[in-house]
Amino acid sequence: MIELEGLTKRFGEKVAVDHLTFSVRPGIVTGFLGPNGAGKSTTMRMILGLDRPTAGDVRIDGTHYDRLKDPLTYLGALLDAKAVHGGRSAYNHLLCLAQSNGIPASRVAQVLETVGLTAVARKKAKGFSLGMGQRLGIAGALLGDPRILMFDEPVNGLDPEGIHWIRNLMKSLAAQGRTVFVSSHLMSEMALTADHLVVIGQGRLLADTSMADFIRANSRSYVRIRCPQRERLRDVLHQAGITVVEAGGGALEVEGGKAEQIGELAARYGLVLHELSPQQASLEEAFMQLTAEAVEYHAQAGPEPAPRDWGAGWKEA
């Protein structure tokens, strides 16, 4: 259990984290979502006591992180896969962490096996790919067999097979009753792994909800219609009790999945349809809308990017 209460971090004038209050519960994967620069990493660093909060408080199982005896056995974290001395071997990197927390050296070989780095255990970390570095970081998080795990953007740099592996790992850790807190800037990634969702933007809490509720509230389905006899179609639909809204570009939109009904009506009245397409608003769009006002680094104003397929995001990650 991680509990944040009014957690705030200011860097000079800039507010990185603004009165965050939420808890991360055991037994589920909690996704920590926000655009780049939203304050996710700063929040995680404060949880570990690396950054001092300007105000507020964060507790691990009721205690401050720096009061935990052998903290790696309570909370394992992957913050930055590159935070390794490149000249040190994977084995020695994990060994020095294990020794500092009284973890037996035999556990090092175990976690190397778990993440699939046994073959390169004696190799220097500077020769590692980003994906291997990520696995080494995860090995470090698992080292103390902690009840709480925290991963900052763990799928970054992993290949599809690695992404699949980390998703299953997080789910199985949660299934064992552990607290799993994982950050991402990709809604699509979270939708596949997280049971609960905490969304922040510009350091402020935007949503703290179960994944199921978020999907229910945000996955809107509608039908898009283009018709040369627009006014005639509107009247027909209106008579049938169907609400139509203008959707720009000469298109009309109808809430819900009524494509068949609309097609039949159009045929009955001899109307020409150029388009009749059922649409599904993606969670990515819902997330973009939620954080739209809170996005700090807007891209240059320009043509809207083409709408992306559901789940397309992780392929690029």
Partner: protein, 257 residues
């Protein structure tokens, strides 16, 4: 025992990187080689020296002549031990494992200082015996008054130089910045300040100027240094304490970047 665990961890860290081996071997090789060479040279040129220099000839100091250069390798060792944590980002992992920042820093300093002391003593004894072997008739014996103190002192001096560098690196975090300040300071600036008449009175209280007094056996003619060998080493130790205290306070206060 959190401290014992942190010390074991720091020992693993220090023995598992190449920079430890090459900085410390460089310190030994440079100090001993230059000391031996200058001792041989002094022996062959002894009769050409002015009478004044012959009178205050200190064979022990001559055999430690390589320390001016060798200490630079010790500085690099001390700086890298601490600043490696920052330049690699390892500090975030280290402090997540040992969140008590004092325990973290002083375990690291203790391990590195113990290693520097072992290497420093080996260097000092090797430089002394090889140097004296080269000095022929002008040599000093280890049993002569003050000589054993000077040879042990040489090892302590190298340890304190490394520890001072650790403190500075803990304050500055960047290896380049730390080396960029410490190397020219100890190689040039401190020597100039300690030997130019105008600045001598202040200059001789600088860490290396005060500390290297411990290696002198025969006082220089007209020497008016207001402290003895152990007091000199004490002054150097005060500098070390100040640097480490500064490093600790900043580490405690700052976010771990």
């Amino acid at each position: 025992m959190a401290a014992v665990r942190a010390i074991r961890s720091e020992w693993t860290k220090i023995r598992s990187v190449a920079s430890t081996v090459w900085t410390l071997s460089l310190a030994v090789v440079v100090t001993v080689a230059v000391g031996t060479l200058l001792s041989a040279l002094s022996n062959s040129q002894f009769d050409n020296m002015p009478a004044r220099e012959r009178l205050s000839f200190d064979p022990t100091v001559i055999s430690f002549a390589g320390m001016t250069l060798g200490q630079l390798a010790m500085i690099v060792f001390g700086v890298l031990v601490v600043s490696n944590e920052y330049s690699t980002g390892m500090i975030r992992v280290s402090l997540a494992a040992v969140p008590q920042r004092g325990t973290f820093l002083f375990s690291k300093v203790a391990v590195a200082a113990a290693l520097a002391l072992a290497v420093g003593l080996v260097t000092s004894f090797a430089a002394f015996f090889l140097g004296q072997a080269m000095l022929g008739p002008h040599r000093a014996g280890i049993g002569d008054p003050g000589v054993l103190r000077a040879v042990f002192g040489g090892g302590l001096y190298m340890t304190l130089i490394a520890m001072f560098s650790m403190g500075v690196a803990a304050m500055l975090r960047s290896p380049m910045l730390s080396l960029g300040i410490l190397m020219p300071f100890f190689f040039l600036i401190s020597n100039i300040l300690g030997n130019v008449d105008a600045t001598k009175k202040i200059g001789r209280f600088l860490p290396d100027q005060a500390g290297n007094r411990i290696m002198q056996v025969v006082p220089r003619v007209g020497d008016d240094t207001p402290y003895g060998p152990w007091a000199g080493l004490g002054i150097m130790a005060l500098w070390v304490i100040a640097a480490l205290t500064g490093g600790y306070l900043l580490l405690k206060r700052r976010d771990a970047q």
